[in-house]
């Protein structure tokens, strides 16, 4: 067994100092919730097992766990096979000393393991329970499976994105997992306040499906009031023109030709600034572009002219030029830009972290250590620390949790390891 890493201590108490959370479940949304609560000072105990690894350690295939710190930093990570009687007893003991129990397992699975919510309540009557599912914990689809990327389609967002003659437009990410992951800490902290003020506890159910639909926005009202579905209009907007992305010169460092700058001109004042920044070329002085209405009516020609102007330019320099002139503009950032960004560096957004290279069939404690990078929680708080947090390997905090918190002797822990319970 490896030694437990002491978690970061700070002179100033964190916002959620004294709160203990049991996190029970894999993937994206639930671990993200745990990471956020941990960064705010809660003690998050993550229950995992070497017997069934989180698939996210192998997605994308090249990452081999290098991306896991982004979801798992700042937690106490333990191994426990809850399918054994002793394992079940231990997770329930953890619940007794915790404020929050959160899980993303389906009802039938939890029932089978005997860690159902009535049992949680018996162990800890005032526990806050956050139960996250894909499509819903009850109701007609409660046994159905889903995952975040596809919920963009299910939640109505993909048919708002792209152009009508193209397939539904999506972003290559687990879209609504992230919404769920950041909604949940808000619900949990609020439930803790409510508990402190009223003595009442709460069970909250969230789903990836609902979190996605919540982001459909005013289109939900437009359909109900006007009977009209959203128009898929690419990058165009009823309130600004030009409004789009424009091709730029290949990247001077990487040579990548896939370089664009986004430009958004909302009114005539910004258009004047744009013209000035562009050196007031003849095409921009055309009278049909003088008003917003005119620019909207002539968008195809306008976009073609702007593209011709942007094509030879370097995107990052063009962004700076336009921004200094007061025109909203932004490069379409690639990994190189994010990694090298002076702006993000000055905000300490990405930080270096170690990780362990995930390998199927090999106990995590045997995994090889490597160097990775992880973002910091994007709410910078002036009065309480937002901890980047230590990164424990799977099972690295077994001695702390089973020994220091639950009071097992090292002999008892060794026996449970030998029996495959703590594994």
């Amino acid at each position: 067994m490896t030694t437990a890493v002491p978690q970061t201590q700070s002179a100033t108490p964190s916002a959620l100092t004294g709160i203990r959370v049991v996190e029970f479940g894999p993937y994206v949304a639930l671990p993200l919730t745990g990471r956020i609560l941990g960064s705010l000072g809660a003690e998050v105990i993550k229950v995992e097992t070497n017997k069934v690894l989180d698939e996210m350690a192998f997605i994308p295939a090249w990452s081999r766990g290098a991306g896991q710190p982004e979801y798992q930093r700042g937690k106490r990570r333990i191994t426990l096979d809850v399918r054994t009687d002793a394992g079940r007893d231990l997770i329930l003991e953890m619940v007794r000393i915790s404020d929050v129990f959160m899980t993303n397992f389906r009802r039938n699975v939890l029932d089978r393991w005997g860690i159902d919510f009535p049992e949680i309540r018996r162990q800890r009557p005032d526990a806050i329970i956050m139960w996250q599912t894909g499509l819903g914990g009850h109701g007609p689809y409660y046994t159905y499976k889903s995952f975040g990327i596809l919920v963009q389609h299910l939640s109505g967002v993909s048919l708002m994105t792209g152009l009508p003659d193209e397939p539904p437009g999506v972003v290559n990410t687990s879209y609504s997992d992230y919404h769920t992951g950041v909604f949940q800490p808000a619900g949990i902290i609020a439930a803790l306040m409510r508990r402190n003020l009223t003595g009442k506890t709460a069970t909250l159910e969230s789903s990836i499906f609902k979190s996605g639909v919540a982001t459909c926005g005013p289109a939900l009202l437009d359909y109900q009031v006007n009977g009209r579905g959203p128009r898929r209009r690419g990058n165009r907007d009823a309130w600004a023109a030009p409004h789009g992305v424009y091709p730029c010169a290949p990247d001077p460092v990487s040579g990548d030709a896939d370089r664009y700058v986004a430009i958004s001109v909302a009114d005539d004042d910004q258009w004047a600034r744009f013209r000035k920044a562009a050196g007031d070329p003849a095409w921009a002085a055309a009278p049909e572009y003088a008003t917003r209405l005119g620019r909207q009516r002539n968008q195809d020609a306008l976009d073609a002219a702007i593209s011709e102007w942007t094509q030879p330019q370097e995107s990052a320099m063009l962004m700076d030029t336009l921004q200094h002139a007061g025109v909203p503009a932004g490069i379409v950032s690639q990994g190189t830009d994010l990694n090298d960004s002076a702006h993000l560096k000055s905000r300490n957004f990405y930080q270096d972290t170690q990780y362990w290279e995930a390998e199927r069939g090999v106990k995590a404690t045997e995994w090889v250590e490597g160097e990775s990078v992880s973002w910091s929680i994007p709410a910078k708080m002036s009065g309480t620390p937002i901890a980047f947090g230590n990164y424990s390997n799977i099972g690295q905090d077994n001695a702390y949790v089973f020994g220091d918190l639950l009071g097992l002797t090292s002999g008892e822990i060794a026996d449970l390891e030998a029996a495959g319970v703590i594994y």
Partner: protein, 414 residues
């Protein structure tokens, strides 16, 4: 400890007083807090929040009280008007801020400071004050003064880099997605700061949220910076497919699109067997396609062709339910109409019916039930009309006389 004599826990969030000075960039933050119980007072300029002048409107007839955009982002809030460009307006604002728990704002970073009502000035009268500022690029750093709307933030975060068809330019997500991540993080920060203040012996603080950073975290599983460091590659667009799960995508069928994805070896075997049942095509059973999801990467074009030949035999609903019965992740590609009729959402306590006094709008379902609970309910009041709560706040709370309120109103301050 806050004194909430009336609070019995009907709503998740105690009735903290929150002053909402946001535009659409962060209006969702204050809405979330209002939906779950906070007393959110939207402070609008006398001409009204700019989003009142954004459509869509009922029957496309422009009316600042009927902007569906404003109605969506401002449920369960109250509204007062106040001109922060005048000294008497700012003076009233200082009095409001002295009794507020939270201010959430999305002005450019100099706006409130230049007017003498920045965080430091306001906290001098109210040490418990919590202020959250949501800006495109944060309050510090080289880009702190750069402007950004939804498009620009979506670009600069890199989110657009992986949205759209492979051979076409990056595309924006059509739901103005950048409005959500920063607003959500700001809500978490505010609640944590309140918890610290009231239950951890702390005082107030300032929270700085960058929309760019927030949106970067919403595509973490693409790992853009990490991919560059590890392999010297940049993430890019793959249409409705994915580099993370293979096969995955949206595929046309008889009456619409079905979304489907295969992660585990067992799922692939189940899908291949089903495709074979339907098409009789033996090729799908090939050993070459079996195994973990990344093992199929080089065969993606053939697999997609096999899938399309299979899917065209079914309707969306047939594929959805039969796919799930076979333990496969098949999901319908929904339009708004489908969502409003969806039996699962109806059963999940998700929609809240809000009745508008205005008959041009009537009864409308809002997506307020992000958390479903037998223990707490969300609130279901429509967004406020402009200045609806002027009398309640200025007379009832600040103690202005009706005559003083009338004078301020005549002077265009309220």
């Amino acid at each position: 400890m806050p004194r909430f004599d009336e609070y019995t826990g009907e709503h998740l969030i105690p009735p903290y007083r929150i002053l909402d000075l946001t535009d659409r960039r962060a209006a969702f933050c204050a809405r979330l807090l209002a939906d779950y119980g906070a007393d959110v007072v939207k402070v609008e300029p006398p001409s009204g929040d700019p989003s009142r002048r954004l459509g869509p409107y009922p029957s496309d007839s422009s009316d600042p009280e009927r902007s569906l955009d404003f109605l969506f982002y401002n449920t369960n809030k109250r509204s007062i008007t106040l001109d922060l460009e005048t000294e008497s307006g700012r003076s009233l604002f200082r009095r409001l801020a002295a009794d507020a728990d939270v201010i959430v704002e999305s002005f450019d970073r100099h706006y409130l400071y230049d007017r003498g009502i920045g965080f430091d000035a306001l906290r001098a009268d109210n040490p418990g004050l919590i202020m959250a500022s949501v800006t495109p690029f944060g309050n510090t750093g080289e880009w702190a003064d750069y402007q950004g709307d939804d498009l620009v933030v979506m670009a600069a975060s890199g989110y657009m880099q992986i949205t759209g068809e492979p051979d076409e330019p990056p595309v924006r997500q059509g739901n103005e997605h950048s409005h959500y991540p920063a607003a959500q993080y700001a809500a978490v920060g505010i609640l944590a700061a309140l918890y610290h203040r009231d239950f951890g012996g702390g005082i107030g603080q300032h929270i700085d949220v960058s929309s760019q950073e927030a949106l970067i975290t919403y595509y973490t599983d693409a790992h853009p910076a990490l991919l560059w460091r590890k392999l010297g590659q940049n993430v890019t667009r793959v249409g409705t497919n994915s580099t993370l799960v293979i096969p995955l995508g949206a595929y046309p069928c008889k009456d619409g699109w079905i979304a489907a994805g295969v992660i585990t070896p067992r799922e692939w075997d189940a899908l291949a067997a089903w495709i074979h049942e339907v098409t009789g095509n033996d090729e799908v059973l090939s050993e070459a396609y079996r195994g973990g999801n990344q093992d199929r990467a080089e065969h993606i074009d053939i697999i997609t062709a096999l899938f399309l030949e299979f899917a065209e035999n079914f309707t969306v609903q047939e594929l959805f339910h039969e796919g799930q019965r076979r333990n496969l992740v098949f999901l319908p590609v929904n339009e708004i109409a489908d969502l409003l009729a969806d039996p699962q959402l109806a059963d999940s306590g998700f929609w809240y019916d809000i009745e508008h006094d205005d008959s041009a709008i009537g009864a409308v379902k809002y997506p307020l039930g992000i958390f479903h609970s037998d223990d707490v309910q969300a609130r279901s009041r429509p967004a406020p009309t402009l200045g609806a709560d002027n009398a309640a706040v200025y007379q009832g709370e600040l103690g202005l006389t009706p005559a003083e309120l009338a004078t301020l109103s005549a002077d265009g301050i309220i």
